[in-house]
């Protein structure tokens, strides 16, 4: 008998279960999760906050998932540490669980920025259901809410709060919204769209302090300015939850370092998702790629290998797709770089809020930004992942209605992804 043990209960962990069960129907799987809920879709918390999705509609998998996959789910208990020599995981309750194969899928948690008074009441993070629940209690129509961090998480929170009738101010150190994925031209369109939907902005000036006694009452900016608020949402990025591997001998960089089978340096121990530092196909280096598609794929690959298959994950790419008040934004790979060697081709219709930027390097597509028109952009993602040579076809891909027919003939005729990308490569 082989004991499969999984720490975590989000996309990477669920991918792990489904990966194991592709070939191993017999051996037991135990899953440990800190949150007390069955697996739910984290991106849905903003939809929950605005009331679009009810709590019982948030399941990432059906209610019978654990039973159907014969998983013993230990929900609401924290895994304290791993003992690799004894092949055991010690829970916070003192209970000890043995394993033969271990998947660490502990995810990430919000960064706490260096802002004075951030521990005050009325300050929330926004990465799990409990925060969305608490916010829903705290905020009412007319509440003045400040979102610190103009990234995807912060802006989704801001959108939901507007729908709740709150007055929302978004602040960011950067003068650009979504500065990790958009360039100034793209950020400007998004900002104009969000401003038109009722969100206010204070960009380019850091918040240094949260005013108020025990409860937050205002923001104080580095330039001395201030703003009265009732609630603050902090969304300034995430970092991997690495505590469980401290002092274990598991190699760690920014995240847990994994090979192309998602195995750590210690035999039998795998890691996947936001906690792992895996291969980036575009950058051709290891890094933490914190997005859900990558987490699931890594988890699934880890699971298959835990079950004894020998499956290689070719690597992930940065990939984001999001809509704010109906404006669709998709980015992938190297999306906003101004580095030499990255050649950008652009198409901008400012009034219609349409923007497309394709980035080429050495005759290959390495990334894109698509705003407003995202129809069929998965073809672009596949061009990036397959590193297809594309020297002469740039203008065709810039059209809003581009398709497979616009690819070079030899590429189009060999476009086969049905069995997964490993069978298909230029």
């Amino acid at each position: 008998m082989i004991n499969h043990l999984i720490i975590g209960n989000s996309a990477a962990a669920i991918g792990g279960v489904e990966g194991i069960r592709r070939s191993d129907r017999e051996n037991p799987i135990t899953l440990i999760a800190e949150e007390p809920y069955p697996c739910y879709s984290r991106p849905l918390i903003s939809y929950y906050l605005e009331g679009k999705v009810a709590e019982n509609e948030m399941g990432y998998r059906g209610a019978d998932f654990y039973a159907a996959n014969r998983v013993e789910a230990r929900l609401g208990v924290r895994a304290q540490r791993i003992d690799p020599d004894r092949q055991e995981v010690i829970l916070e309750t003192g209970e000890v669980l043995p394993y033969d194969r271990l998947l660490i899928a502990t995810g990430s948690r919000p960064v706490t920025p260096p802002i004075k008074g951030i521990e005050k009441k009325g300050v929330f993070f926004f990465n799990k259901l409990d925060y969305a629940r608490a916010l829903r209690q705290y905020v009412s129509p007319g509440s003045r809410c400040a979102v610190i961090g103009g990234g995807l998480t912060g802006l989704k929170a801001a959108e939901a709060l507007v729908h709740l009738g709150a007055r929302v101010l978004v602040t960011d150190i950067s003068s650009c919204l979504l500065s990790s994925i958009l360039d100034p031209a793209g950020a400007e369109i998004v900002k104009r769209h969000l401003a038109g939907s009722g969100i206010g902005f204070q960009l380019g000036v850091p918040v240094v302090e949260l005013a108020g006694d025990s409860r937050v009452e205002g923001l104080i900016f580095a330039d001395g300015g201030s703003k009265a608020v009732d609630a603050v949402i902090v969304a300034t990025g995430v970092r991997p939850n690495l505590e469980v591997v401290s002092d274990t001998g598991v190699d760690v960089g920014q995240g847990i370092i994994v090979d192309n089978q998602l195995q750590t340096n210690l035999p039998g121990i795998f890691a996947a998702g936001d906690v792992s530092e895996g291969w980036d196909i575009v950058l051709q280096q290891r890094r933490v790629i914190a997005n859900l598609p990558n987490a699931y794929r890594q988890g699934e690959t880890a699971g298959r290998n835990m079950a004894g298959e020998k499956v290689v994950y070719p690597g992930g790419v940065a990939l984001n797709s999001v809509s704010f008040f109906g404006l669709a934004i998709a980015t992938a790979g190297i999306s906003n770089s101004e580095d030499a060697g990255v050649e950008a081709v652009r198409y901008l219709k400012e009034a219609e809020k349409i923007y497309r930027r394709l980035n080429f390097r050495e005759g290959r597509l390495v990334g894109y930004i698509c705003i407003g028109e995202i129809s069929r952009v998965g073809i672009l993602t596949a061009l990036i992942k397959s590193r297809t040579p594309l020297a002469d076809k740039r203008q065709g891909l810039l059209k809003g209605d581009f398709g497979l027919v616009d690819l070079p003939e030899e590429v189009r005729l060999s476009w086969r992804w049905e069995r997964g990308e490993l069978t298909w490569r230029f």
Binding site: Y47, P293, W415, W417, R419
Partner: protein, 152 residues
Amino acid sequence: MSKRVICKEDVCIGCHLCEINCITAHSSYPHDIWKAFKLQKERPIARVLVEEKGETSFALSCRQCREPECVKSCLTGALRIDPVSGVVVLAQERCIGCWTCIVSCPYGAIRPSGGKRMVAAKCDLCQGIREVPACVAGCPNDALELADGREE
């Protein structure tokens, strides 16, 4: 193993009837083209798309991939492989229109539905609507066929 609709490119003449028949099949009047186009308020989007350039034309719909990028990328779990039929199915009521599937599908075969509640829409092989997919049944040139998914 799932079946899928494939297109014989050398036979397809780009008449777009497959799109018309797909729209009809997914309307409230699945057997009446006239009613589907004239009476239905929110016209469904075609889940098959004809691509054309010069003499080249072909109809493209979901490949019902064995390792579907869309399913693995879906943020909510709305997309999954039907364990019985092998068809990649979308539970539209669970879709939030984040378009991660659109960003992930290498064929560009998933599209926004249109209408008030914008969600994803994809080929369902007319399951529960008719025996043979409407695009295949109505192709005047037999360019479309329902093929065994094993064929690559």
